[in-house]
Amino acid sequence: MVLADAITIVLLGVGLFFLFVGSIGLLRLPDFYTRLHATGKCDTLGAGLTILGLIVHHFFYYPGTILITVKLLFLILFIFVANPTATHAIMRVAYKTGVMPWKLGEERK
């Protein structure tokens, strides 16, 4: 059980790190496109790693209920498909409505 707890804590910590990197990127970066570049990848990876840690916890502590593990795996799969799709849709709208990318020397938008 100590090994399972260690794996769970490491995966939760790495996932939380990526979630925080996504939030700070959303706050700090100078442009709409760069903000989506930060959040679109970091959020997907952070959510996937965090739920993977919870799957490891569930697999070792409640071995009788495999159905919930499968449910969480489907949740990871859905996030990995859906989140880049939403990011692509918003970025395509921004490109079509004429949002110009930030260049070096301009002020932050």
Binding site: T8, T65, L75, F78, I79, A82, A86, I90, V99, K109
Partner: protein
């Protein structure tokens, strides 16, 4: 362990909320709402383990679908100016 994870995710959501309130334009706000939705899914799963109620995972699946549909509908509305065309 799960309570600390939930509280840290709440802090990350609060940080992202700045971009919803201040962020210039509709597109920044929509992107920030999408980010908050993804963090809310993780928060729902973690709280399901903290309160020991596995029904929260169904709610998390439902919330993931609603988050995707909401973002896509808003993107389509911003691109075309109308929904039914």
């Amino acid at each position: 362990m799960f309570l600390a994870t939930g509280l840290l995710i709440t802090i990350a959501v609060t940080l992202s909320l700045y971009r919803v309130v201040v962020g210039p334009g509709v597109l920044n706000r929509t992107a920030a709402v999408n980010v908050i939705g993804t963090k809310t899914i993780v928060l729902l799963v973690v709280m399901g383990y903290y309160f020991e109620r596995p029904y929260f995972f169904d709610i998390a699946l439902l919330y993931a679908m609603i988050n995707l549909i909401g973002t896509l509908v808003f993107a389509k509305y911003l691109e075309r100016g109308e929904l039914w065309s």
